[in-house]
Subunit: 201 residues, 2 copies
């Protein structure tokens, strides 16, 4: 029996997803687990579960902006706090899912490029022109990208991913699901590693 | 100039406080920082900030109960998930603050005893008789303990601690404040260590 995958739920507008993305593929490779990248719209997941978005609560907003900058420094990752956060990541998420259907590896390259652009280069990923440029950088032409971002297919695939996230009990970004066990937060990676190495998976 | 203290805000009914308590005094000693234990009532802090208690949201409740048991195993700590959680920890918190005014070290011994009893021995710390027994175990007589838990002094001291927590931007338990920098969560201890060792404090 081969080991099951690590499903990596995240929102492209989540700094903690960017932090976790830096390490998750290496972790999967170490334990022979495929990593399934699954971008979702966190606001839609929150709405379904009746969870208030942390960034909408002033005391939490103040804390988390500070924690995001500090966590990037702690992890040694380049970080420029986005001018707008939260922000809707639906263009990036639709594009990802449409590409992933045909070329999963290219989709992951796109995801890494989008996270780096948004969190280290001050690119506005809710802007269609900016997204077309990022798509081009990983070999996705403008016609294909536009179709994926605006057409019914990308939308339907993203809706499916959001429904899966709700069913899988996702409570925030990132959220890892492996062998039925959920791990919420970039700070759960050490515990996920322990879980995999102790053979509890 | 001597290094400032680490203020350790927590709620006696928080498993993550129990997890953090296992390591915080050693961390303080390592960096020559006094640790100021400050139990509060998290529900009162949440109310002031307009934060919904995580355990009141079904999807989060389901996740966190699982995460609490797993985190204890990950950390190698004995853990018996309390029969009732959340639960009001006002008796323990009032007793702590009243004792801390006169005997801070005894108060910390009490705090450790209460956390262990609640999270590893299935003791109901909202029960006055149980609290009197725990108080006795660390040398606090029944008259003194009753006075602290039911009288105006313990109540006023706890109200002051809650007001401080609100002013200090506490958003959950545990929350560490050192040199004006806040760290939320038992999983931020590695980052707190990094902060202290890099001399950023």
């Amino acid at each position: 029996m081969s080991a099951g995958p690590i499903r990596f739920y995240f929102d492209f507008a989540s700094p903690y997803a960017y932090f976790a993305a830096a390490g998750i593929d290496a972790l999967g490779a170490e334990f022979g687990r495929k990593v399934e990248w699954r971008p979702v719209l966190l606001w839609a997941v929150f709405k379904a579960h009746g969870i208030a978005a942390p960034m909408d609560v002033p005391a939490k907003h103040a804390y988390f902006v500070r924690d995001m900058r500090r966590s990037a420094a702690f992890l040694g990752l380049p970080y420029v706090h986005p001018a707008r956060l939260p922000l809707s990541s639906h263009l990036a998420a639709r594009l990802f899912h449409a590409v992933a259907e045909e070329e999963p590896e290219r989709a992951v390259r796109l995801a890494r490029r989008v996270l780096a652009a948004f969190f280290a280069e001050a690119v506005d990923i809710s802007d269609e022109t900016a997204m077309l440029r990022l798509a081009g950088e990983v070999g996705i032409g403008p016609e294909r990208a536009t179709q994926a971002m605006k057409g019914p297919w990308g939308r339907a695939l993203l809706e499916g991913a959001v429904a899966d996230a709700i069913a899988d009990g996702v409570v925030g970004s990132p959220y890892f699901l492996v062998d039925g066990e959920g791990f919420f937060g970039a700070d759960r990676l050490p515990q996920l590693r322990w879980f995999l190495s102790e053979g509890r998976g």
